[in-house]
């Protein structure tokens, strides 16, 4: 105990008080004492002790009364009650009023130590939980960013309108636009926010497996079902279930899902008894469900059941005004996460970002920023555009007089251009140099793990091997 927390000891008997003080000091705490209730309340105010040990039997204001006032004044300070024999009734009352624990007099020193430790640990645990909760709360509000774009403001207001209802919501939009974030935002704003949010992706799971994932199975339902398994619907009870990529769900399962949506009941695989649940359903898809319905891949009745409210998240290219906000958000997020200090992008890179189409939407942008932060420079990002070579648009604003801030390849390093550099003055050669240096850089950082490097550079493995050959890159150089 190196922190030396303060413990306030309240007892009217001088002898007892100084005995406990001595003990508690020997356990490594600071102490202060009071011989009556009034004094105790004063000291509580003035010194804000970590813990109070108080006798129940005191003249004038007895322990019960003082306890009541302590709890009014400062409900978080734990109180340990000291009681004599035959005082059970008052002890019970004290515990009901919020005392943390009690000790019967006479007591062994060990008992006092143990009780103090337990109460302190519990207090710290409560503080820790509170801290974690606050942190999590922060993270949630921090993680979804509604910038000033009209489209996202509209989405935000729909979320607010539907959140507190139990209406099923269908979130639609291309991959990486933020559909899952929208689903989480609905849950976070709903009355179920402190209950479970359970996610399941319906894509890439074989039909039969998906069924047991969603609905669970009974013991012996099929070979290999050695024990009963609860499904995601049961796990999400009272909360929200997020069915991602619903458009890929097999039609036979669609029927079972429809039944849950209608009755709030289902049977586990191999079971007869219905399981009742109260779950709010949010589904997402990047497929055109109307077409799927027409072609018979998606049940029409389920479509209408899901599509009560639908939120369409537009692709990033249709809300480019958000890019600077998102960039700032991700820069902050990842420099914090990786303990780096990368806080802004060059104007040049930003201009390129604004002119890019972002087929992978916000996810692509996020990954790009993450790479910039991790690698500590913008080269990897520039490379991505560099690979596109000539098709970098000519409508970029650039400074004709500026010299390219690219050093010769043999100097071994590329200075990241950070205040806008002239595109026109970069010859194909310079581009090639940037490319060569970037590839070299990334190969070094990945210790020549070519698979990893190709993933980071977003080129195929084969293309990378080819570049290595063309640029005569060598592990030993």
């Amino acid at each position: 105990m190196d922190k030396k927390e303060l413990i306030l000891i309240v007892d009217d008997e001088d002898e007892m008080r100084s005995y406990i003080e001595k003990l508690v000091t020997s356990f490594g705490y600071q102490t202060s004492s009071a011989s009556n209730g009034a004094e105790a309340l004063e000291k509580l105010n003035a010194m804000n002790p970590a813990l109070i040990i108080m006798d129940l039997m005191m003249p004038e204001m007895d322990g019960i009364e003082v306890l009541g006032r302590i709890k009014e004044q400062n409900g978080n300070t734990p109180v340990i009650i000291l009681s004599g024999h035959g005082d059970t009734k008052n002890v019970v009352r004290a515990m009901k009023m919020g005392a943390s624990d009690f000790i019967n007099k006479p007591f062994e020193p060990e008992v006092i130590r143990h009780t103090i430790n337990q109460v302190m640990e519990k207090k710290n645990l409560i503080l820790e939980v509170k801290r974690l909760k606050e942190e999590m709360g922060k993270q949630i509000s921090y993680d979804i960013l509604f910038s000033n774009s009209k489209k996202m403001t509209d989405i935000k207001s729909i979320i607010e309108q539907v959140a507190e209802t139990n209406i099923t919501v269908l979130v639609r939009g291309e991959s990486g636009t933020g559909k899952e974030l929208v689903a989480r935002a609905i849950h976070a704003a709903s009355l179920r926010h402190d209950k479970r949010f359970v996610k399941i992706s319906c894509v890439a799971i074989p039909e039969t497996l998906l069924e047991t994932e969603l609905f669970g199975h009974e013991k012996g339902a099929f070979t290999g079902a050695t024990r009963k398994k609860p499904g995601k619907f049961e796990l999400a009870n009272d909360g929200t279930i997020f069915l991602d990529e619903i458009g890929d769900m097999h039609p036979s399962l669609q029927a079972k899902l429809l039944q849950v949506l209608q009755d709030g009941e289902f049977a586990r695989v191999g079971g007869e008894k219905d399981v009742k649940v109260d779950v709010r359903v949010i589904a997402a898809t990047n497929r055109d469900l109307e077409i799927a319905v027409r072609e018979g891949g998606f049940r029409e009745d389920l479509f209408y059941r899901l599509n009560v409210v639908s939120i369409v998240v537009p692709p990033l290219r249709e809300r480019k005004e958000e890019i600077p906000f998102l960039v700032e958000h991700f820069l902050r997020k990842y420099s914090q996460q990786y303990n780096k200090s990368f806080t802004t992008l060059s104007n040049e890179t930003m201009t390129r970002f604004m002119n890019y189409d972002w087929p992978g939407n916000v996810r692509e942008l996020e990954n790009m920023i993450k790479r910039v932060v991790v690698l500590g420079n913008e080269n990897a990002v520039l490379t991505r555009f560099a690979f596109k070579g000539a098709d970098i648009q000519s409508d970029i604003q650039y400074n004709i007089n500026e010299k390219p801030k690219v050093k010769a390849a043999d100097s071994g390093r590329v200075i990241p251009p950070d205040n806008g550099f002239s595109l026109r003055s970069i010859s194909k050669k310079a581009l090639a140099e940037v490319e060569r240096e970037t590839i070299k850089d990334i190969l070094l950082k990945t210790r020549w793990n070519r698979r990893e490097a190709s993933r980071l550079l977003k080129v195929s493995y084969k293309a990378l091997l080819n570049k290595i050959k063309v640029y005569e890159l060598d592990k030993r150089l």
């Binding site: 019967n104 337990q118 640990e121 519990k122 645990l125 209950k195 479970r196 359970v198 994932e213 669970g216 024990r227 009963k228 398994k229 609860p230 499904g231 995601k232 049961e234 796990l235 999400a236 009870n237 009272d238 909360g239």
Partner: protein, 156 residues
Amino acid sequence: MFDIHTKVLERDVFQYFLDLEIKKAMRYQYFFSLLIIEPDLTVDSGIRAEILKTMAELIKEEVRTTDVIGRMGKNNFYVILSHAETSNTLSVAERIRSRIESYSFTRKNGGAKETISVGGACFPTHANELGNLVRNATKMIYEAKNNGGNKVCLPN
């Protein structure tokens, strides 16, 4: 980590395991249950320690070695039964109850009988988060006690 008298897990350590169990059960989708076990008679503190110690040993013998036992209060034990759903929870709890009922506790003045009450709740059948699971099990132990003790109660 272990309670000095009964050699089962201390409160905080048990709480940690319970928290972990819920996370694992969510993730790997399995059932488990929580039992609260309390002696029916509040015996005086002199012999209580000895009796609780024996009870802890008996409980240990009736559950699997992978189940987790903790001492949460002065007068009770909590048990996590991993991969157990309502029906096997009921049978394990019943087994513990009858084992203790039939055991002769040794005392200075000859053998003596003790009984316990058991309250339980099953994840996710009765609750899918920590607070509610504990609340449900607590409600059930009160129900067992209010009905005369020496009983096992689970939510229906």
